[in-house]
């Protein structure tokens, strides 16, 4: 290859670098120096006051100022992806801000990729910061941008579960165990009486664990079986 061309290409790329936008920051400024590389999260800080055994309930998920995602539906994936970590009714509240979303949709190769970056915090009832973190997830093996976004949220949930301490993880395992025991086969929920399934669905909605659209859709499916 022509060396002149290579040099031109390198200078072009280097020239673009100063124009790159700065990373968005939504956590309190004083927290950033405290963030450390996590086990699975990119960066995390936990206060000594954080009690993993008490867990957290799900709060707000919003967009960083100025971020207009190509897939507005991405926000609805968070309650679904994070619900298995949450303790409904916990006084500690997790809130997340989506600070970046990148997608690739190439028809000719059938390649789809989605990356999201979030900043999150868990606060106690008085608003004191217990946990702060920032992380990024990217998936490209699934068959659409949306499916990859969904997988990204799962990855973030997994990373969070690995970085909130042993007490948190033990409590999480203990909470999920009864569900596993009561659902050895695929047909467990289907064996429930439709009315019981409706009650369970209502419970999920009231605890903010599913979106309204999801609630409506699943309710319609159950009602058809009545």
């Amino acid at each position: 290859m022509n060396k002149g061309f290579l040099n031109s290409l390198i200078f072009l790329l280097a020239g673009l670098t100063p124009a790159l936008p700065a990373e968005v920051r939504t956590l309190p400024a004083e927290v950033y120096p405290l963030l450390k590389t996590g086990n699975k999260l990119a960066k995390v800080w936990t206060s000594p006051a954080w009690d993993g055994a008490k867990g957290f309930s799900l709060g707000k998920v919003d967009l960083a100022p100025g971020l207009v995602p190509e897939f507005p539906k991405v926000l609805s994936f968070f309650p679904q992806g994070l619900q298995r970590l949450a303790v409904p009714g916990s006084a500690n509240v997790l809130s997340l801000t989506l600070v970046d979303l990148q997608t690739v949709d190439h028809g000719s190769t059938g390649y789809y990729s989605a990356a999201i970056a979030v900043e999150g915090r868990i606060v106690d009832p008085n608003g004191a910061l217990l946990v702060a973190f920032s992380t990024r997830a990217q998936s490209s093996l699934r068959e659409s941008v949306e499916k990859n976004l969904e997988a990204d949220v799962d990855t973030i949930a997994w990373s969070l579960s690995k970085d909130l301490g042993k007490d948190f993880f033990r409590a999480l395992e203990a909470r999920s165990q009864p569900a596993k025991d009561s659902a050895p086969e695929a047909s467990v929920e289907l064996n429930l009486d439709p009315k019981a399934r409706l009650l369970r669905l209502e419970d999920l909605r009231q605890n903010g664990l599913i979106t309204l659209d999801e609630y409506t859709e699943r309710k319609e499916a159950i009602v058809k079986t009545l």
Partner: protein, 405 residues
């Protein structure tokens, strides 16, 4: 009876529990989601150029065989549905191990091209682990060009071709970066050409390392690859069996930059004997003669690509792409007066396209491709006018209709 009843009940149960998409099935009680997906891809292509020699035969993948047929006319119209595909995937979230996913996907590029299934992916992941047949770790498709032609631009490392059985682990590193290390099958896939009587001896898998730095600005990827080329001659009368091998290496820089709604992608690789992890032609020749015993000759090629995507409106986007590949001279290259797929020195593609999106699942694309190929030494190619010339050009117009389901 019982089994039939159980199956019917299970199927009915799955359908009743179906969430948002009509093609997603969820199994209550264990969180596994199963998706059926795919798309219809209809590609129409009109090309004009020296079809029997030169440019066409360098085009990767599907069309190179068609274009390099001796005696074919120098203008053609082709239609194909070979890129169409069908797949099934599952996802099982887990807070302990990370997502469990599986994917089984086929296109229609089988041996009876256009009608026979051809495996693209058979892969499973557990958290940061990947097991199975899927894109090589060497391929940075996030830095790939948004092209209509399924064959892809020349010079982009591997396009989407090197899909390999592999085991990969991806580490998350500070500053939104990752490092992925893979060992990938290369037996029968490393592009080696063997002299008569010599067999491939591929005992050592290919190793690929990929570092990626991500940000809201885009990404930068650095990759390195090591390939082992092995040869084996069985025992014959008067001589025992013989084995020999040689390693080859390649490196790649790739990336993307976000410029408002637009995207710039780029890549450049340099590799010796890297087969279709690079370009796939003129990779290595292996021989064993008295004058040159246990010879493994590895050949170098360098590929590059730059592409710019401009988003005009929510429905319309367009791309300008330039790419090229250069082969180093080597002993396997003929410098006779006839360029073929194995003796072209360089090729450059210039591509412009525009896509119209009807809805998130359906799009129409139109593309113009201008290709220039130059043979080695005093070699010449046959032009449209029937005369020999120093380089060959080909122009293509392509139209694609893609509908996902």
């Amino acid at each position: 009876m019982s089994r039939t009843h159980n199956l019917t009940t299970a199927l009915a149960a799955l359908l009743l529990a179906a969430p948002a998409s009509a093609y997603d099935l969820q199994t209550p009680g264990n969180d596994t989601k199963l998706s059926i997906y795919g798309f219809v891809y209809v590609l129409g292509q009109y090309f004009q150029g020296p079809a029997q020699n030169g440019v066409g035969s360098l085009q990767q993948g599907l069309y190179k065989n068609v274009l390099s047929q001796a005696g074919s006319p120098d203008q053609n119209i082709l239609f194909s549905v070979q890129p169409s595909r069908f797949g099934v995937s599952t996802l099982t979230p887990s807070t302990e191990w990370g997502d469990f996913t599986t994917k089984l996907e086929f296109d229609l590029n089988g041996q009876t091209a256009g009608t026979a299934f051809h495996l693209r992916h058979a892969v499973g992941t557990v958290g940061a682990w990947t097991f199975g047949h899927t894109w090589s770790n060497w391929v940075d498709l996030d830095a790939g060009a948004d092209e209509v032609d399924w064959a892809g631009p020349v010079g982009q490392a591997g396009w989407d071709t090197p899909r390999r059985p592999q085991v990969r682990y991806t580490w998350s590193l500070p500053s939104s970066s990752t490092f992925a290390l893979s060992v990938e099958n290369n037996k029968g896939l490393d592009g080696d050409t063997f002299a008569s009587g010599i067999q491939e001896d591929g005992k050592i898998p290919t190793v690929v390392g990929a570092y990626t730095l991500n940000g809201s600005w885009g990404h930068i990827g650095l990759r390195a690859i090591a390939i082992s080329h092995g040869a084996y001659v069985p025992a014959a009368s008067g001589a025992g069996s013989q084995r020999w091998q040689k390693e080859s290496y390649g490196a790649q820089i790739s990336g993307s930059a976000k410029l408002a709604k637009d995207t710039l992608v780029y890549s450049i690789y340099d590799g010796t004997g890297i087969a279709d992890w690079g370009y796939g032609l003129q990779s290595a020749t292996i021989s064993n003669t008295a004058a040159s015993p246990k010879a493994i000759n590895l050949y170098r090629n360098i590929g590059w690509l730059a592409g710019y995507t401009h988003v005009f409106t929510d429905r319309v986007r367009g791309n300008l792409i330039a790419s090229g590949v250069n082969f180093s001279s080597n002993s396997s290259i003929s410098t006779t007066n006839s360029a073929t797929g194995t003796d072209i020195k360089s090729q450059i593609d210039y591509i412009a396209n525009v896509y119209y999106t009807f809805n998130p699942k359906t799009q129409l694309g139109f593309e113009f491709v201008h290709e220039v190929a130059t043979p080695f030494g005093s070699g010449q190619v046959l032009g449209n006018d029937g005369n020999q010339q120093n380089s060959a050009t080909e122009n293509k117009l392509e139209l694609v209709y893609q509908a996902k389901f």
